[in-house]
């Protein structure tokens, strides 16, 4: 049973915290509009994926042990990232296979952790946003959100209610952009090749704006599009849904001063 005003912990994610704070504020705005009381628990840093996916379980478990107490007092935990939400939801319990008490806490936390846009639609029942964006956008399905959490229809449903916005689907929208966390610097040749393919697909739509729900993928695609000289604006989907695109230039674009 959904509480009238659920208390939601915003897990900002490290990349939003460091690179794109506007996305965090957009998330706050959207969650409040959906009727949530939002808090930003202090003590959060990162979900620990860089360690976890590098085989360093001990550090990943330490980070999880610090994060779980900060997040668990809330009704829900919401992150503007499928990757980080997936880490908490799907992988935190796996970190404590030999520790039943922590495993149980991790499972309870995981069950109430969501990616932002799917939370708005699936849990809060949001069907429309009050936002305007003049342009044709294309949407990249980030892998973890898509395959671990089933984020696919929700962002499209809300984008369809943004005034002035047209969606042009790209081919292979579900194919990885080549970011892959540390993969992109461990195997840069392959990563750049993958993101080059993605850039071609994006350009082929004729869209002026690329949206996605994960900062890692966005930084990767924005970086490659810029290197190729493609004039595509790149933004996190929350920026458009919250109507804050006038507050900050697109990812990788300057203020010109």
């Amino acid at each position: 049973m959904l509480k009238a005003r659920p208390r939601v912990a915003l897990f900002v994610t490290c990349l939003v915290d460091l690179w794109r704070p506007t996305v965090g504020f957009a998330a706050l705005r959207l969650l409040k509009a959906a009727g949530c009381t939002v808090e930003v628990p202090r003590g959060q840093t990162c979900c620990g994926q860089p360690a976890y996916n590098s085989g360093d379980r001990a550090d990943a478990a330490d980070i999880a042990r610090a994060l779980i107490p900060a997040l668990e007092p809330h009704d829900y935990v919401v992150a503007p990232s499928g990757s980080c939400a997936g880490m908490i939801r799907e992988h935190f319990p796996a970190l404590f296979a030999d520790d039943p008490a922590w495993k149980a806490r991790a499972e309870r936390l995981g069950a109430k952790t969501f990616e932002l846009v799917s939370f708005l639609v699936d849990v809060m029942g949001m069907t429309a946003v009050a936002a305007r964006y003049e342009g044709t956008v294309t949407y990249h399905d980030s892998c973890s959100g898509l395959r671990e959490l089933g984020v696919k229809a929700q962002p499209r449903a809300l984008l369809a209610t943004v005034e002035g916005l047209k969606l042009a689907e790209m081919e292979d929208a579900e194919v990885c952009c080549g970011f892959g966390g540390t993969f992109c610097v461990k195997y840069p040749d392959i990563s750049v090749r993958m993101v080059s393919d993605k850039a071609e697909r994006i350009a082929a739509t004729g869209a002026d704006t690329l949206l996605a729900g994960d900062m890692g993928c966005l930084l990767n695609m924005a970086g490659r599009l810029a290197r190729l000289g493609r004039e595509v604006k790149v933004r996190h989907v929350a920026e458009v849904l919250a109507g804050v695109t006038d507050e900050v230039p697109p990812i990788g674009a300057g203020r010109g001063r």
Partner: protein, 475 residues
């Protein structure tokens, strides 16, 4: 075959710069994916079949000794011989002994990844027995003396020009100025050359897609019919198969067959699905006089009961590599041994050692597309992560990466330090990148900026801004 997995990065660089390979891969990428999608969409029970397939294999793996013994008894009851081979060397020696016992000079071969795994062709040649590959793709790569680059389409790295070149160089008794106007011309030529080889062969060697414990049968699927000619024409049929290929019953085999072709090539069923049970019986019009099964372990039993057991469910359909963007970028040879793509990234370290194949489970973005199409629902990314954990535990992770990761984790575990360090760091980067919005180069970030710009951060971190707004009563 020579293992080049430690040189994965260099292999990948060469592959990415190989225009011919890239052209061949581009053709392959689109075909397999679209065909599988169509075949799966046309079968409403596909998802429940995946569950059934997984359960069949899990059950077998939990009782592998039982089903292997039952299978062996059934083979022997039908007049066949089972050879239990623990290592690749045991298997090679046994095959050569069987060949020598009938004075074999040539052996035709159906497609077999196990034969590749044990390096059978080189061994047969050294023993004076000429192996003749009869699968079209295997035939061409045998002519070119190179390993397969894909487990069901071994020559997928080649274009038609490569085939024509190899055929002209090899089939020298045919007119040098003959034309190859279409694909069929190539196939016809291979067919006519191979026909004589089929008839002359003393021994036929095939792999097995499955072994059926109930009946003692081996099953192969092909689209060319070459497997049937390989196993029915010669005096001796040798099946080489690894131990995890066994399934309990014919019904189980049929369940898996319904998954296999759809996942592999997008066909409802392969053109040929052939069940072989023992040698020729009295009254049979044809068939081999001897039927041998080489049952190979080669490290698989040591995967049982570990975090890698699920990998033994693999039915070698290749859906994982067909859908893998890394495989699609570099092709199969870059992986440096027999099994490429996601299934190879998990299996290869188990078979040749993670110290040799360590790159393979690391060269993945964990996009999860492989697992999402795997008919046996093998958690491939999870097992690649297991390998990374083994590497980390054994200090096989490169020291620079290890140091960087350690430093990052040390800060990430100290939120106050994290907030301080990121506030300062992002403040500087934000100011430097404010005008242009991105960096073309950054110290220590060559891996990133070699091929893409680094977008500049906004400057003030979220946590700093949030704290400031809170203080000002604005958040």
């Amino acid at each position: 075959m020579q293992i080049t997995s430690p040189g994965f990065k260099e292999n990948a660089r060469v592959a990415l710069a190989d225009a011919g390979l890239q052209k061949a891969l581009a053709n392959a990428r689109t075909g397999f994916v679209a065909k599988r999608a169509r075949a799966v969409a046309a079968l409403p029970e596909f998802e429940s079949l995946r569950e059934e397939g997984r359960e069949i294999k899990n059950h077998v793996l939990a009782h592998l000794d039982f089903y292997l013994e039952a299978y062996a008894r059934a083979v022997e009851a039908s007049g066949g011989v089972v050879h239990w081979c623990e290592t690749a060397e045991d298997a090679r020696r046994t095959v050569v002994e069987i060949c020598r016992s009938v004075g074999a000079r040539t052996a035709t071969k159906g497609k077999s990844m196990i034969a590749e795994e044990i390096g059978l062709n080189a061994h047969l040649e050294a023993a004076g027995i000429t192996p003749v590959e009869t699968d079209l793709g295997e035939y061409i790569i045998q002519l070119r003396r190179e390993p397969p680059s894909h487990i069901i389409a071994p020559a997928i790295h080649l274009n038609r020009e490569d085939w024509i070149e190899a055929f002209r160089a090899t089939h020298r008794d045919l007119p040098a100025d003959r034309a190859f106007p279409e694909r069929k011309t190539l196939i016809d030529e291979a067919r006519s050359v191979l026909r004589a080889r089929f008839l002359a062969a003393d021994v036929g060697i095939t792999g097995a897609n499955m072994l059926i414990a109930e009946t003692g049968s081996s099953v192969i699927v092909t689209n060319e019919g070459n497997g049937d000619l390989t196993q029915t024409l010669p005096k001796v049929h040798i099946v080489i198969a690894s131990i995890e290929k066994v399934v309990p019953t014919l019904e189980d085999a049929c369940t898996i067959l319904r998954l296999l072709a759809r996942s592999a090539t997008g066909q409802d069923f392969s053109t040929y699905t052939t069940f072989s049970t023992g040698p020729r019986r009295e009254g049979d019009r044809d068939g081999p006089g001897q039927y041998h099964v080489i049952l190979l372990d080669n490290g698989r039993s040591s995967m049982l009961g570990t975090g890698f057991q699920d990998m033994l469910r693999c039915i070698r359909c290749a859906a994982c590599m067909n859908h893998c963007p890394v495989y699609g970028a570099v092709g199969g040879h870059a992986y440096g041994w027999v099994y490429p793509g996601p299934m190879g990234a998990v299996l290869t370290p188990a078979l040749i050692g993670v110290e040799t194949a360590g790159h393979l489970p690391n060269a993945s973005t964990f996009c999860g597309r492989c697992e999402s199409v795997c008919p046996m629902k093998i958690p491939l990314p999870k097992m690649m992560r297991h390998w990374r954990e083994r590497e980390f535990e054994r200090h096989l992770t490169p020291s620079a990466a290890r140091f960087g990761l350690g430093a990052w984790a040390w800060v990430a575990k100290r939120p106050w330090l994290w907030r301080l360090a990121t506030r300062v760091g992002m403040g500087v980067l934000g100011r430097l990148g404010r005008k242009r919005g991105r960096f073309g180069a950054l110290p220590l970030a060559g891996g990133w900026t070699g091929g893409r710009d680094m977008p500049a951060p906004e400057g003030e971190t979220f946590q700093a801004r949030y704290a400031r707004l809170k203080r000002q009563g604005l958040a």
